[in-house]
Structures are given as C-alpha cells and as structure tokens.
C-alpha cells in the first residue's frame, strides 16, 4: 500500500507492506537508525517517537497507522530537542546510549506537555522507558536541567 508520512518535516511517499511497523519504516526504509528496538512486547520505550506531538512506541504502531500523520524522531533538528540533547550530555544522562533516543523523545513530550514538571511527574512519565545502565538518576537530572533551560532560567547559549 502507498503511505505518505511526514517525518521530521519531510514528506515520504512509499509503497510498503501493510504489516510494516513504524519502527521498521523509520529504520529500514528511511535509514533513520536513531530510533531503536529493545523489546518485542512494547515495554522498553527505546523506540519512542512523536506522532502528531504525542509520544508513541513506534514498535507498536503500524506505518499504515501513521499514514498522513507527522512523525518526529531523534534525528529532528527542532531547537528544543537540541536543548534536551545538550542537557543529557552535560548531566551524563546516558552510558551505553541505547535507551537514549527514546528517553530524549519522551523528555521532549514531557516538556511540551507540562509547564512545570516536578521530579515526581518526570519519574511517572518515564515509566515507559527502560534503562539498564544509568539507574535513571542522571536521566532525571538531565530532564530537570532541560526543563530549566527551556524555561529560560539558564542561558541556553552558555
């Protein structure tokens, strides 16, 4: 079937099998390999992307379901995403890096949806993302830092 999916601001028209998962569409069809696969039961969140601004697990969405929708991935050049990425670097919010794209996309969603996410809120909203390396502490610190920056309490260009 033909699908027309907007990924990071660009339209992609492709002829695909209806059974193709969105994550395969991104990784195999578009070569956007930043979105990862960590499980086959929709638990780990390594595959998190935004669909029309809402975070979803792209391993559990058919590419067909994304037809005529907008997808944002870790490869997007959204300035707010850059601030989040920088915060993860500064706070050492990653070790092996495998969960990281999913964590960052979920952080993007958290910050787009909450004015002032406190630590409790952040933790609850990261429940769908597993990390085996960091014990989450530095990830939570990264989200907090990104939030402060986005709010402008820290000069972003610093």
């Amino acid at each position: 079937m033909m699908v027309n999916i907007n990924v990071n601001g660009r339209e992609y028209k492709k002829d695909i099998e209806p059974r193709m998962l969105l994550v395969s569409f991104l990784r195999d069809e578009l070569n956007l390999t930043g979105t990862h696969i960590g499980c086959d039961t929709s638990n780990c969140g390594a595959c998190t992307v935004l669909m029309d601004g809402k975070s979803v697990k792209s391993c559990t969405v058919l590419a067909a379901q994304a037809n005529n929708h907008e997808i944002t991935t870790i490869e997007s050049s959204d300035p707010k995403l850059d601030v989040i990425k920088q915060s993860f670097v500064e706070e050492n919010g990653l070790q092996c890096g495998f969960c990281t794209p999913g964590m960052i996309m979920q952080t993007f969603y958290i910050l787009e949806n909450s004015e002032d996410a406190d630590e409790e809120y952040i933790k609850k909203n990261l429940r769908g993302n597993l990390c085996r390396c960091t014990g989450y502490k530095s990830i939570i610190d990264s989200v907090k830092k990104a939030e402060e920056k986005v709010k402008g309490e820290i000069n972003v260009s610093k």
């Binding site: 079937m1 099998e17 209806p18 059974r19 998962l21 395969s24 696969i37 086959d40 039961t41 929709s42 969140g45 998190t48 669909m51 809402k54 975070s55 979803v56 697990k57 391993c59 559990t60 969405v61 058919l62 067909a64 379901q65 037809n67 979920q106 969603y109 909203n125 429940r127 769908g128 993302n129």
Partner: protein, 285 residues
Amino acid sequence: MYPDKFEYFAPDNIEGLEELLDKYKDDSKILAGGHSLIPLLKLRLTSIPYIIDISNIKALSFVDYNNALEIGPMVRTGEVASNKIIGDKCKLLADAASKIADPQVRNMGTVGGDICEADPRNDLPAVMLALNAEFEVTNSMGKRTVKAEDFFKDAYTTALESNDILTRIVIKNTENYYGKYYKYTTLSSDFAVFAIAINMSLNDNKTVKDIGIGLTNLNSTAVKPVEVENYLKNKKIDDRVAGEAFNLLLKSCDIEDDVNGTEKNKEKILKNIFINGLKEIYEVL
C-alpha cells in the same frame, strides 16, 4: 517480532466499516489503538487476514455531557485521563485511565479497545461495571444497548459478534458520585495483580445511597460483586461493615497461588486495599 501478512483498510465512516465487517466477518478485526492487537500480531500469537483501522472515523471520537457522560470508543486513554469533562464528571474513570500502563501506551490505546479486548488484567472493564455503564453497539442491521454487566462474558470474550462495533459509552452515575481505582501491581509490571473500582454516592443521613464495584483480575474476567453492592446500600461505612462486605466480596473472587504470591498473601493485601478504599471514598463524600 514482526506480524504475519494482512490486508489493511482504514474507512472514514461507520457505513464503510460495517460493509467491511460484513464482508470479512471472522477473518477481520477492528484496529483501534492497536496496543492489545499489535503485540499479539507481533508475537504471532494471532494472525488476522483483514485489519480494519477505525482511527479515521471521526464519529467515534467524542466526549460529551448531557445528563450523562458520553464517550466515543476511539478516545485515547491518555485523553480520558486528562479530559476536563471526564475529570469533572467521573473521577473514577479519569483515575483508572491515568493508571493504565505508561504515557506512550495511553497515547495510542483507546477506551473502546481496552473494554472490547476484555483482557482480565485490563483496567477499564471493572471500571465500566462499577459505573453501571451502557454500551451502544452498532452493526449493519442497527443499534442496540448492552449493559456493562451483560457485556463481559469471559477472558477475552464479550457480547460483541464479529460484525459488531462499540460506538458509544454512556455513563449515568456521575452527579454526586465519587470514586477511585485501587490498583495493585508488582514492582516492575504495569498490569494489575488485582484492582478494585469503587463508585459511591451518599444519602443526606450519611448512609450509602448507591455504590458500584468492579474487580480486575480476580476472576477469569472483570466481575461486579452485586451482593456486596446490595449489602452496602443504606449503610454507614465503618470497620465492621467494611469487613463484612469484604467477606462477601471474596465470594466473587477466584484467588489462587501463582507467580505473584500465595492465595493467603493476596487475600490479605486485597482486604487492606478494599477496606481502606471504601473508607477513603466514604470520607471524601
């Protein structure tokens, strides 16, 4: 971890959907948010030749209130948790929806899908029982109303036939009711080990006017312990009454030793959350 082949349709109106369901019958299945169906397809625990995506049907996505709360089946559970009307009119539903899985799952999964899947561990069936919800069911022959208590037949089995569509959820027990969803999990899994949905209203003399209860994962499907509801009506809730209610409640449960714990341990925990829950809601009212 990749589904078997299927054909895919995405009609944008109910008539188109009805036609496809009539044509493909048992070989077809509705796809709402896909967060029960796609995991099964991926593990190849099921294979369905014709998948019909209903997300393009605008008439299935709505939240309204005129004397009763009316919700379209395609409303995502994340929206149910945060929707202002639902939050105002039905605390129990909003609370339960916020306790489903994680934000990503709630951004896709739908209220209709959670109900129709009838997974004994799903949260919303018990909530619907506690709310005495009514379901509008549509097929090419017409519409009918099915009460929640007649809807859940067994694990993964409902009153729906292969060409039936859940088109509307109606909740009347909203004004003056307060409720909450008590969900007990393991440390690492989202799904309920068991959960209790309670929806209550009081008379002026502080006795229970009406109460609805629904139980998750305490039997092969969600159950409504009608005896307990009847027992509690017109009573004031104190430790003795709550304890007696719990003894009746156990009759609706089928608790066994399993990987989550022994029957005894589970009963003890259940008793605690039920009694504390009843008292908490009673006190809020």
